[in-house]
Subunit: 290 residues, 2 copies
């Protein structure tokens, strides 16, 4: 099947016109270039106003924070207490308990210490040949964008990434307060806050919310908040009603071709390939399962 | 006055607590650390729904495109023909003539060739010591973030930057179709599209618009478009009614301190300074003139 993918690429390149665009490559990719996000890791958040967010949890990168989120979901804590409380332009959309006082269910680990970075390199890590302004080596592993300094690795703060709000150190948050990055990736938060997943559907539902007018983009009027009306893991839905999301395999040749096409646009619109690309412009493509 | 600024910085660092945050530095900066955007370069766009955008034009970087925009404004072309037609998640908000057929006023240069890059280095260019994923040297000059390969320089595609929509090459656009970047900076567009300015106020008015559901985020229903109801240069408003915007001087010591604070957060919330920062997270601070 690798041969089929390569034949496809060759056909695209030899099609007589300009080189394929990144979206041409995604559209023409074979089924084997994709992996489905396991239903056990798929978190579905329904906010008021029919705004649905689907998040792929990242237990390999923030195991205890991810376990906390699962516990909060199982206990029904989110719809009982949480709302979108903050939308800061070019930064984050954040949801949690506006009072900050709702008791957490039992079993929640208060200050996990394993969510900022993980030791060594992740399995099948493939570094990019491009520089990183934050001094890391950046690349991909297992369907995720990853940064590393050789000794440890972590998820980078890019748009769509979901982080765990916290108070001052040594607090590391629990998972009861979460945010999604909107705008240019605030990578200075890397290894200062745990990232627990990525929004894989519905980003436009929250990035288009009105920005808060208070400090840090907090909504000043309680009625501006957007209540979280349901939070469920996909596994708790009947199979036919589950969202199914696929992520491009980061070890597949089509993904390498896609990276090259992103870094060196040669489709007809472009006159000058960039010769590089930022890791936050190289999050693996996602799509609804066909 | 430089001494006053340095004394202020020393006081902040010696205040006994954590190091100042970037916003501490902005709040504590002296008046001489700022320069006002000339009223001649300040473009005010009023969209339906009381959405006001203020744009600092960049004639030094795209002289003919900027001159075209001024002509279009002077001729009243924008409110007669333009609307927001496209909002693409994590990419751009774009406005222009939905029909693409409205005749342009006389004097508009159809395909300016001087807006993609400018020769040499800009006056007083100060490079950053951080790497760039796109292989450029990045830094600042005259209140702007700038990228260069040594032979030429250009504005980088970061959030808030305003670009000139165009058709396939050799078209370079006129300025009648414009967009503002939302989301992670699409730097692959650098030197493929002319950037003609930066949104210096009102970004949140357009970044929170609903995303278009058509291809590339175009609005499918004409009634979803957001009409442009007025487009004026600040000089055409009575002096008392003009927005006045200041940009931090990129040759001032406070700006150097701000860059260092952005790249190495040492304020109380942070446990680990990043040691670098992306140029798109280092656009010079702007503020309403006090």
């Amino acid at each position: 099947m690798r041969c089929a993918a390569l034949a496809l690429l060759a056909a695209l390149f030899l099609s007589g016109g300009a080189a394929p665009s990144p979206s041409d490559l995604v559209a023409g990719s074979p089924a084997e270039a994709w992996q489905e996000v396991p239903a056990e890791d798929l978190l579905i958040l329904d906010f008021a106003g029919d705004r649905r967010l689907v998040i792929a949890l990242a237990p390999a990168f923030a195991p205890t924070h991810a376990a906390n989120v699962r516990r909060l979901v199982a206990a029904g804590w989110f719809p009982a207490h949480a709302a979108i409380v903050r939308v800061q332009e070019n930064y984050v959309v954040q949801w949690g308990d506006p009072s900050g006082k709702a008791p957490l269910p039992s079993g929640i680990v208060p200050r996990p210490t394993d969510g900022y970075e993980r030791p060594g390199l992740p399995p099948a890590f493939r570094p990019l040949p491009f520089a990183d302004a934050y001094g890391a080596t950046v690349g991909h592993a297992g369907g995720w964008a990853v940064a590393t300094d050789g000794a440890a690795h972590w998820l980078p703060h890019c748009p769509e990434m979901v982080g765990v709000g916290r108070d001052m150190p040594p607090d590391t948050g629990t998972g009861a307060e979460l945010y999604a990055v909107i705008g240019h990736g605030p990578r200075h938060l890397d290894r200062n806050i745990a990232l627990v997943g990525r929004v894989v559907a519905g980003m436009e539902q929250i990035s288009s919310l009105p920005r808060g007018t208070g400090a840090l983009g907090f909504y000043e009027a309680p009625e501006a908040r957007v209540p979280l009306v349901a939070a469920r893991m996909a596994t708790s839905l009947p199979e036919a009603g589950r969202p199914r999301i696929e992520v491009m395999r980061t070890d597949h040749p089509v993904f390498r071709a896609w990276i090259d096409a992103r870094a060196n646009r040669r489709d007809a619109f472009f006159i000058r390939p960039a010769g590089g690309a930022d890791i936050c412009n190289l999050l693996p493509p996602v799509r609804p399962a066909p």
